[in-house]
């Protein structure tokens, strides 16, 4: 054993070290924390108290968004793999949630939402959540504890890398995945989140992203595209059929994602208010329409409506409505769903095979295309009457908003693509990206994790 212990120690030592450092820093500053907390307590007395109703809804929403990653997304993806890979696929989402959460409280939140540095990134004043306490933050949810806004946003930072794993499933090396997505969060996600939501240049420019169409879906979609191309196809793709090994698991995941998405979108209004309700309705309707549309198109195109098609339509609708959920009324929500179902169907079952990249679980066609489309539709349908800061083209806003939206998606897509490419190149050189042919053959569950998903 000692032999593999040596080797594996080598493999994970860095991770181990980073991790311990984080923890020890954690240990080092309880007192800092403490002071912070006392100040908090002090100010809290004076400062505008948080509203219990709004707090209750955002607490629930944060829990709902956590559920999206685990078990929601984990099972949605896990069911789509072949029987030899579900555990590794589930573990990808699982670990992204954990590492993403730790990094977020230590420095990520400060980088994304902390005091702005040149419109590009936040500084480290809020390192270890210093000064982030029970009192509301004037702009980040004036009626809920600042700490609550932080943890709500944490869930977004955690699910984004998890979404990417769908494109690299069934062949990436576990340790490479950890390095890739750990670094990616810092280099790509934190800056982008800052640009759009944290006081950065895109937000300042007037670009609007209600709940993450760009910050979450365009970034994960672009990263997925670059990653699956650099990683290469799964051995045998597309020749050998690779049908999902457990679709009920995938449909369960889809249901939990839909459920959690109510927290994702309706929670993004940061309170239990009218906008939360209209975001809730828009989300539900867009998902419903996209599901039906995908199913009908597939029915006409392939001859049969499928359950997996329906579930894909649901996720497409949810991803597409995300950037506008709180800004549009019923009519546009219906249209968003219609466009989402049609476009993403096209991207997944016609464009992908045509272009020939192996996006194992269709992150690009569903999240990338969906998020991008939603952001652009915002330029048409956002309406001040619904709570949008600016009117879209159809509501008399002319092309101003549309211009900002286009700038946002292009800038973010380009930045993400480049960032992802550089990170992966480096990792590829240092430790490599893929498992060996034999390990892939045997399956990642056994070869990477020494486990089998099922035993009869």
């Amino acid at each position: 054993m000692s032999s593999h212990m040596m080797s594996s120690m080598k493999k994970i030592l860095p991770v181990l070290l980073i991790c311990l450092t984080v923890i020890l820093i954690g240990g080092a500053v309880p007192f800092v924390q403490d002071v912070a907390a006392e100040e908090a307590a002090a100010e809290a007395a004076a400062a505008p108290k948080a509203d219990p109703g709004d707090t209750a809804w955002i607490l629930a929403s944060s829990a709902l968004v956590m559920l999206m990653t685990l078990p929601g997304l984990a099972l949605f993806y896990g069911g789509l793999t072949r029987q030899k890979n579900p555990l590794s696929t589930i573990l990808h989402s699982f670990i992204c949630l954990c590492l993403g959460s730790i990094a977020w409280v230590v420095f990520g939140y400060s980088m994304a939402f902390g005091p702005d540095v040149g419109g590009f990134i936040g500084n480290l004043d809020w390192f270890m959540l210093k000064g982030v306490g029970a009192e509301p933050h004037s702009t980040y949810g004036p009626t809920i504890p600042h700490m609550l806004f932080m943890v709500f946003q944490l869930m977004f930072a955690a699910i984004t890398p998890a979404l990417i794993t769908g494109a690299i499933a069934e062949r990436i090396r576990f340790s490479s995945m950890l390095w890739f997505l750990g670094i990616w969060s810092v280099v790509v996600y934190y800056p982008v989140a800052h640009w759009v939501w944290g006081g950065g240049w895109l937000g300042a420019m007037g670009a609007l992203d209600f709940a993450g169409g760009t910050v979450v879906h365009v970034t994960c979609g672009m990263a997925a595209l670059v990653a699956c191309i650099m990683l290469g196809k799964r051995t045998g793709y597309p020749g050998t059929p690779m049908p999902p090994h457990n679709l009920p698991l995938t449909l369960l995941g889809a249901g939990l994602l839909w459920f959690g998405w109510f927290g994702f979108n309706a929670g993004s209004s940061l309170g239990a208010n009218g906008q939360a309700v209209s975001a809730f309705v828009a989300t539900h309707i867009a998902a419903s329409v996209a599901t039906v549309v995908w199913m009908l198109i597939e029915w006409a195109h392939r001859g049969k409506p499928t359950a997996l098609g329906a579930a894909s339509g649901t996720i497409a609708g949810l991803a597409t409505i995300t950037p506008v959920a709180g800004f549009v009324s019923l009519g546009p929500a219906l249209i968003v769903g219609l466009v989402a179902g049609a476009l993403c169907y096209f991207a997944v079952s016609i464009l992908k095979p045509a272009l020939g990249f192996d996006d194992s679980l269709d992150v690009v066609g569903v999240h990338g295309v969906g998020g991008l489309t939603g952001c652009l539709l915002g330029g048409l349908f956002n309406s001040k009457a619904m709570g949008s800061p600016a009117d879209g083209f159809f509501y008399g806003g002319g092309f101003t908003l549309m211009g900002a939206q286009i700038t946002m998606v292009l800038a973010v897509a380009a930045f993400t693509a480049i960032g992802t490419w550089i990170i992966l190149k480096i990792i590829d050189v240092i430790i490599g990206l893929r498992v060996t042919q034999d390990e892939e053959q045997e399956g990642l569950d056994v070869s990477q994790h020494g486990e089998k998903a099922y035993h009869v």
Binding site: P238, P241, M242, R302, K304, T306, L308, S312
Partner: protein, 112 residues
């Protein structure tokens, strides 16, 4: 003694079993198999990736019988398993040297 192996359509299993019991067969061993042959599988589609599996779910029945019983067994299986459409399956007959009942150690036909 003979080993009679039949590959049939899964939903015919119960009928075949009953037919065999009727003619006095006291035991059989069944396994799930996949068959390749003239019958073509049905098309499946997953997110636009279409394919037809060549291997179709079948059930394999193994019955060991005394030589004199073989003909009746074959007849019974053929009758019960037949639908008339492609894929009904096959019956394979071969000789076996000996049988042992583990519980009692009996050998030969009496062990069946």
């Amino acid at each position: 003694m003979k080993m009679i192996e039949a590959v049939i359509k899964p939903f015919k299993l119960d009928e075949v079993k009953d037919a065999l019991v009727e003619i006095g067969v006291q035991g059989m061993t069944v396994s799930e198999v996949k068959g390749f042959g003239r019958q073509k599988g049905s098309k499946e589609t997953y997110r636009g990736a279409e394919y037809t599996t060549d291997f179709i779910p079948k059930v394999k029945i193994e019955v060991y019988v005394a030589d004199n019983q073989a003909a009746r067994v074959i007849e019974a299986i053929t009758r019960a398993a037949k639908t008339g459409s492609v894929g009904d399956g096959k019956i394979f007959v071969s000789d076996i040297a000996n049988v042992v009942r583990i519980r009692t150690g009996e050998m030969g036909e009496s062990a069946l």
